[in-house]
Symmetry: C2
Subunit: 371 residues, 2 copies
């Protein structure tokens, strides 16, 4: 049995092959990777390692690109808490796409979403997180000339009129079926998916173009677009292409999804080196044996060892990663040693990130789309 995977719940062990079937998406093939490599000159480790593993309509987007019609990228973040390492894998990959393909990024901050979906959420609190979250996105190094933030409550003037056109084509029945809502859902949460659909075509309206839209996202968000791809087409726009990421597992084990509301399961972008060390050492689920002796003898299980799994995200050198996996499997590397490697990699990354995060403050106005 598969765990739950939808925008409001990700639980249990996730069978990605089953998701591909259930969601009706396609698995990324070596042929597609070759296509991407041909254009980009290289493959991002997240592609080689299957972190991005599925897609919709990606081939069309690549074909258009080869004809000279560049796509734009769209993703988003609903602010309500701090950014953690689980959030950024999609964005790191987007930045790579932006660099390699020279494309625009449209980044939506639907700052009403969590307000509508979490009963105890607070408007001012969310606005604070919006600000904090923008800093983290900017710190990842997106090109300010080619990156546009759409903030639902600040850009409602251009978004709501388009959302209305989307909304007219979606019944509450469809929403119920797609998201499992019921009659006690509030009417804002029911309408919300229309706002999330708008950036699929708004950039083309604003710039009077007909570029394809490519959405990199965690597979839990796929349902929003499963619902709206047909709607968008009925409105006369191309269906967006999608490339789906797996979830980065929580520190505490390979099931479910990392979450800021469980601080033991996640490392935040603002965590200090000591905090990173403490969390990894204390909480990272180990694939090792009960004793060092047994481990040396029988080896560890990289598949469930979180330090090994997380290194897929931080050790870009394939050979080094392979060596770590091999040594760990054979018992040459102990759990504590792999943890130490991971801590080093994360802290190297976060030190740099936190430096750029400080400079991001004054870049915010450059990123917010000017109406």
């Amino acid at each position: 049995m598969n765990g739950k995977v939808n925008p409001y719940e990700v639980e249990g062990r996730i069978d990605y092959d089953k998701l591909i079937k259930d969601f009706g998406v396609k698995k990324i093939t070596p042929e597609i990777l070759k296509e991407i490599e041909k254009i980009a000159g290289e493959l991002h480790p997240y592609l080689k390692r299957g972190i991005f593993f599925a897609y919709r309509d990606l081939k069309k987007v690549l074909d258009e690109y080869k004809k000279g019609n560049k796509f734009f990228l769209y993703t988003g973040r609903a602010p309500s808490g701090p950014i953690h390492l689980g959030h950024i894998s999609v964005w790191i990959f987007m930045k790579w796409l932006q660099d390699k393909f020279g494309v625009e990024v449209w980044f939506q901050f639907p700052d009403e979403e969590k307000f509508l979906f979490k009963q105890d959420s607070n408007w001012e609190e969310i606005q604070k997180w919006l600000h904090e979250n923008m800093l983290d996105v900017i710190a990842l190094g997106f090109d300010p000339k080619k990156t546009h933030f759409l903030i639902d409550t600040q850009h409602a003037g251009i978004m709501y009129p388009e959302a209305v056109k989307v909304a007219k084509k979606i019944t509450f029945s469809s929403i119920k079926a797609a998201f499992g809502f019921n009659d006690s859902n509030n009417i804002g949460s029911i309408f919300y998916t229309a706002m999330q659909t708008v950036p699929v075509f708004l950039p083309n309206i604003l710039k009077n173009e007909k570029r394809p839209c490519l959405i990199p996202l965690g597979i839990d968000q796929d349902v929003h677009f499963r619902l709206s791809r047909d709607v968008v087409e009925k409105l006369g726009y191309e269906k967006p292409a999608i490339i789906h990421a797996r979830f980065m597992p929580p520190l505490t084990g390979v099931e479910g999804k990392m979450s800021s509301s469980n601080p033991d399961s996640a490392i935040l972008m603002t965590d200090s080196p000591e905090e990173v060390k403490r969390k990894v050492n204390k909480y990272a689920f180990s694939g090792g044996r009960d004793t060092a002796e047994e481990h040396r003898k029988h080896g560890g299980n990289v598949e469930i060892d979180i330090a090994c799994q997380w290194l897929k995200y931080f050790e870009y050198d394939d050979k080094k990663l392979e060596k770590i996996y091999e040594d760990y499997s054979k018992g040459k590397l102990l759990s504590g040693e792999v943890k130490k490697i991971l801590i080093g990699k994360i802290n190297e990354f976060l030190t740099e990130h936190q430096k750029r995060r400080k400079l991001a403050e004054k870049l915010i106005p450059k990123f917010i789309y000017k109406i």
Copy 2:
């Protein structure tokens, strides 16, 4: 049995006393009229004649006014077709209130409403009607310094963030109960009432004040605010006061409500004098007898005679109106003669209106609220 009365259907014979009970509103009393007269120096004929007949919280608003805290007025028009005489009675009364009480008018044009509720409606068509409808409102003579148009698709930037706060407090169950919606309603129509609630408190946010809000409206619109009055209070604002108008009957008889979609039932603001004459003579339901002879003998029925009923709206001189009613009841006046009087009054009014309507074009920018 009472006819149907809700924002999406008004049908049959309407028992206004029953509506007062069903909706939980209060009947306007001679005491309240005296209060208004004391401040205004006179009473508008529509008050004396019971065209405005019910209210919520009106006394509070008058008390605040006497203490020096002026209310603001809020009403609206969902564009989708031409304005007819049935629409304007509420607005004529509002203009009188504006003049006599020196208050602001906030006029909402929810230009997404009919788009969402009428399957075959067309966006561009509605935008055309928005423009036409604004001309008619302006032509009624509102003070451009004290009158602000809020157009949902143009002011979504300031309205949507507030609508979200309203929407969080309304479940789909409440919407179903209030409007009779079901699961095949589109998600935009479900959200819409939140947008209609916003002008209840937005003017105070924009101007950092705490004025009471008074909403003059046709009683069919009451349900929007029945639903949202509690919500508004939960958000920390005062419940709006409401003053309710009866429906001006269609030309074709005293049942239901005038409608542009049945052109025989309505006279449009742009109708020519000949058109007015033709429509009244051809369609105005007569309360007279089968022959002139019988009529002279037994008299006519003013209660069902549309010409008589409509004169309540156009003959402001109480004595003249009384005389017409008396003469018609006694058979001294024939149906054709009352129609002639009505045609004269309407054409006098429309000639003046159409003159001002031409000048309204260049006033539009003065009326649209500047963000």
